[in-house]
């Protein structure tokens, strides 16, 4: 047993464990002072690594004790879980997620309500009824106005592939499917999705890009065909809709209409190609079966939801509600409460959350208090990083491209942060 400090403070026995073989240290118990924190543990670990395996430069580690990241002195962390301090504490260490770097700011004419990234193209929907496409380097490529009311959400039809087209939904009761090649100047509207009785707030595309679902203020969830083929509709030819630019565009009617929610639907996401999760302001999360067109599962909460995101890596849903907390739900769990963790750090309502596509533990959130935060699910009390810079409420966030963290808000700007882990 090696002693760290010769002082009269109480000592704890710890053992270091890791999943990354490059950073292995011998499995010997150490005796450390009770109130040791992350920085001192880092120093200790770096010294050990220097002794055992020659490393060129010291690396920053994050420590996991009892499944949660260590952010307070060790003894406080253990006391929260009512763990006995007699047994040897197992500390797992992982390489710390590097801080994102600010990259760019894209200035628009009005509030940004929807945003999504595919490859190096950023698609934004704006409150001035236009949709814009920018490059991640900051160059404005395209601006198109086809809607007659504010654009609420945008989504690329093929994940990561901008040439597959995109869909935009708006408060003018319609959604439009567009066709676009990156080399073209203007995207072409293919069909108009007509069927909602009130404004549409959310859209989600299935993973095989064949169907899409929209939901809005009329509380109905409508499923449509997402094909770019114009012929794939049942409307007779004479019932075309006149587009804004004078060209007639053909309308498309929904394949199915799913009734169930009592208030507006705020977020839609497809999971596993036949289940749709929707979050609504009627305090519920509903999981629908897309094949049978029925309700599969339901999670009832205390507050209205403002946004939700499902992760294929961790198979859990994070939601943001009309209070300042972010909640993690596991709809499959049968024991205990369905809400697994509560993340608190924002000071006002959280408006948008999204999972990371590459890591099962990371997600980001944007809130009305002008902050965008990067979180790790293993640390519910403190976010990993605060990305500040917005001067107005943050309305949408996106992390579809693992390299870029983007957010847009009421200060008419889109902020892009670079994720150093992937460079």
């Amino acid at each position: 047993m090696e002693r760290m400090d010769q002082s009269a403070e109480a000592q704890l026995q710890v053992r270091f464990v890791t999943k990354q073989e490059t950073y292995a240290v011998p499995d010997v118990p150490f005796s450390v002072p009770q109130n040791i924190d992350t920085s001192r543990l880092n120093k200790l670990l770096n010294e050990l690594l220097r002794e055992n395996a020659e490393l060129l430069k010291p690396t920053e580690f994050d420590f996991l004790v009892l499944g949660q990241l260590l952010r307070v002195p060790l003894i406080e962390h253990l006391q929260e879980f009512n763990e006995s301090i007699e047994a040897t504490v197992e500390i797992e260490y992982v390489q710390r997620t590097p801080a994102p770097e600010p990259e760019d700011a894209l200035l628009h004419d009005d509030w940004i309500s929807g945003i999504q990234v595919a490859d190096k193209w950023v698609l934004t929907g704006c409150y001035d009824q236009t949709i814009n496409i920018w490059t991640t380097r900051g160059k404005h490529q395209v601006s198109a106005r086809e809607h007659t009311n504010i654009v609420k959400a945008v989504c690329w039809l093929k994940q990561g592939d901008p040439s597959g087209g995109f869909v935009t939904v708006s408060h003018d009761l319609t959604g439009i499917i567009w066709k676009w090649e990156p080399s073209e100047e203007q995207p072409k509207p293919v069909t108009v999705l007509r069927g909602h009785e009130r404004g549409i707030d959310a859209v989600g595309v299935s993973s095989n890009s064949e169907r899409l679902a929209t939901g809005g203020w009329d509380t109905y969830l409508k499923l449509w065909s997402a094909s770019l083929d114009v012929e794939d509709c049942y409307e007779p030819f004479h019932k075309k809709i006149r587009g804004v630019q004078g060209k007639a565009t053909i309308a498309r009617t929904p394949l199915h209409t799913l009734k169930g929610h009592k208030e507006s639907i705020v977020a839609i996401q497809w999971s596993e190609s036949d289940t749709i999760c929707t979050a609504s302001m009627d305090h519920t999360l509903k999981l629908w079966d897309a094949e049978l067109c029925g309700l599969r599962n339901e999670v009832v909460a205390e507050k209205a939801f403002l946004g939700a995101s499902w992760s294929p890596l961790s198979r859990t849903i994070i939601t943001c509600s009309a209070d300042r907390h972010i909640r993690l739900y596991d709809p499959r769990s049968t024991e205990g409460s369905v809400c697994k963790t509560l993340f608190t750090s924002h000071t006002l309502w959280v408006s948008a959350v999204t999972w990371s596509q590459h890591n099962e533990h990371l997600f980001m959130s944007g809130s009305y208090d002008e902050c965008v935060k990067l979180w790790d699910t293993r640390c519910p009390r403190a976010p990993l990083y605060d990305l500040s810079g917005h001067e107005g409420k943050v309305l949408c966030v996106d992390w579809s491209n693992p390299k870029h963290l983007v957010s847009g808000g009421t200060d008419n700007s889109v902020h892009i942060f670079k994720n150093r882990q992937f460079n």
């Binding site: 952010r71 307070v72 801080a99 994102p100 770097e101 600010p102 760019d104 700011a105 200035l107 900051g138 608190t344 750090s345 935060k373 990067l374 979180w375 009390r381 403190a382 976010p383 990993l384 990083y385 605060d386 990305l387 500040s388 810079g389 917005h390 001067e391 200060d411 700007s413 902020h415 942060f417």
Partner: protein, 575 residues
């Protein structure tokens, strides 16, 4: 035919109330007579719900009575007596004016008297009803028994009050009904239990009567009350004595008294004095043995086992209370208040005596060897017997309240007495609605007793500790400033409009007041949801609570200031 028009105020509150002047007109009485009649019959003015309607639209604030009450008064036979008295006064006045003194004397001999027996029966149809109203009656009678003759008040009222109150005390002694006592500024508080009813009364201290400089108290009104109460008390005494198998009026057992004594003193006065001494047991109607203990029935279905247990424990306690001072012999010194002590000691089975020259009725002398306790109120005493305890009078009262014989050492001559705690404390009310002094809290919670003792000792260390705390607070602040690191990344020229930066996340600390604030908001919301018809009641309830807690706070503040003064004096004395 035109239908009869409905007149305003003919139904509802307007028809239920009648003003005082209208009542006087209806009854044809003068105001004084009306007042007297109302006091005797127990009729009071009422507060209507809507004054405008009750007063038939007239402005101002009038004294309003229920119309039904006045109609009830109209059937009262006393009214004729009151009118007869008025006529009698007129006749006497005329005779005096004409200087026809024989006639005047004849009239005065046959003056009309008021008989109130039927009123007592009417107001209190059963004995229990009379017991419920006995509090005020007793207090007023005890008060009047201490008065000298006042103008405009019949002289025999004082004598009757004295006699009746003494009889009542004898009844309590025989029944062993006394439960709680308390000495306060107002006087001696006694609480007895008769036939399941709690009767509480105050006996004023033995101060001489001071005539009031301003006419604040209307003795005539009080004397009307006393007039009714002495009749009532007479009935109550009669009933009590018969239920205890005693002769009423009380008779003393025949003792051999020398002829010379008898010839000097009138027999009535002789008996009255000895009864007033409260020291001699009265003769009984028949020699019946004492009631056997009544067993409490078991009703397993209705009441819970806990309640039955509690009742049994209460009964056992009261049984031991009745023989608290049994076998003890007390001797009262001259300076000690004789009446309350004699009453209490005899109530609980003890024997008591005093100096012969003080009052009649002393049974044994100071030099009696078998005296166990001598009650003295002086700082020191010259001649002391070894075989008896010399204690201060508060011991007797505290023993009764504690329901056991307390250790005598705290009550020796010259000792600082422990605080005299009031037994009239409702244990169910919490400490915000009722002031419970720290000494009493220490009785219930022995752990607090230690804090009481420690508080006295640690007064000196308080000043030093305060200084230490201030230094520590300053150090904490500086540490917090150093710990917060800020990692600011450099912003390029493009981003100068929007200062994008990345900071490591701060740990979220839960504020303790957030939860309480949330709860308070929810409570206020629930308050708003109270129904309209319950709203007034709820408001008055909460107001009552607030007032009581305010009083408690004031008392606590007084206590705190008093203690601070004491410590200041102590520290000054030390210096």
């Amino acid at each position: 035919m035109v239908a009869k028009k409905k007149k305003k105020y003919s139904v509802g509150e307007g028809s239920q109330f009648i003003s005082r002047r209208a009542a006087l007109n209806k009854l044809q009485l003068s105001l004084n007579d009306f007042r007297r009649l109302c006091i005797l019959k127990g009729i009071y003015p009422r507060e209507p719900r809507n004054r405008k309607r009750a007063q038939k639209g007239q402005p101002g604030i009038k004294t309003l009575y229920h119309k039904k009450d006045i109609l009830f008064l109209m059937q009262e036979p006393i009214i004729w007596k009151l009118r007869d008295y008025k006529i009698f006064n007129r006749k006497v006045g005329r005779a005096k004016a004409v200087k026809d003194f024989q006639k005047m004397r004849r009239y005065l001999d046959n003056h009309p008297t008021l008989k109130l027996d039927h009123i007592v029966k009417e107001r209190y149809p059963s004995f229990i009803d009379a017991l419920r109203d006995l509090d005020d009656c007793l207090t007023l009678c005890f008060l009047f028994s201490t008065f000298p003759s006042l103008p405009h008040i019949p002289r025999d009222q004082f004598m009757l009050c004295k006699r009746l109150t003494m009889e009542f005390l004898h009844a309590i002694i025989e029944a062993k009904a006394l439960r709680k006592v308390f000495i306060s500024i107002k006087g001696y508080y006694y609480q007895a239990e008769i036939k399941g009813q709690t009767v509480t009364w105050i006996v004023p201290h033995n101060f001489s009567f001071a005539p009031q400089p301003k006419q604040e108290v209307d003795f005539k009104v009080m004397s009307t009350f006393v007039e009714f109460y002495i009749i009532m008390l007479g009935f109550v005494n009669f009933r009590l004595y018969h239920s205890l198998n005693l002769y009423y009026p009380p008779k003393l057992p025949t003792t051999d008294v020398s002829e010379s004594d008898k010839s000097l003193v009138d027999e009535n006065i002789y008996v009255a004095e000895r009864i007033a001494a409260l020291n001699i047991p009265l003769t009984k109607l028949s020699n019946q043995t004492e009631e056997e203990d009544v067993e409490i029935d078991q009703f397993p279905s209705d009441t819970s086992a806990e309640d039955i247990e509690k009742a049994k424990q209460e009964q056992a306690k009261i049984k031991t209370l009745k023989t608290l001072f049994k076998g003890l012999k007390f001797f009262l010194n001259r300076e000690v208040p004789r009446e309350p002590l004699v009453f209490i000691i005899r109530c609980f089975g003890g024997e008591v005596s005093w100096d012969k020259t003080l009052f009649v009725g002393s049974t044994f002398d100071e030099s009696d060897e078998t005296i166990t306790h001598q009650i003295v109120d002086r700082p020191n005493l010259d001649k002391q017997y070894i075989s008896r305890y010399y204690i201060q009078p508060q011991w007797v009262f505290d023993c009764v309240n504690a329901r056991e014989l307390l250790p005598v050492n705290k009550y020796f001559l010259g000792e600082v007495l422990p605080p005299h705690l009031s037994p009239f404390v409702d244990k169910e009310r919490d400490s915000y609605q009722q002031y419970i002094p720290p000494e009493e809290q220490a009785l219930y919670d022995p752990s607090l007793r230690e804090t009481l003792n420690e508080a006295d000792e640690s007064d000196e260390n308080v000043a030093e500790e305060e200084e230490k705390e201030e230094n520590e607070a300053e150090e904490d602040e500086t540490e917090d400033m150093e710990n917060s690191n800020e990692d600011e990344m450099q912003s390029t020229s493009k981003l100068q409009k929007h200062k994008l930066s990345v900071k490591p996340g701060q740990v979220y600390k839960e504020e303790p007041w957030e939860k309480t604030r949330q709860e308070r908001q929810e409570y206020k919301l629930r308050e708003k949801m109270v129904k309209n018809k319950h709203r007034k009641l709820y408001k008055s309830m909460m107001q009552g609570r607030r007032e009581r807690s305010k009083e408690v706070w004031l008392l606590k503040k007084k206590r705190r200031l008093h203690e601070e003064q004491k410590t200041k004096q102590k520290s000054k004395a030390k210096q």
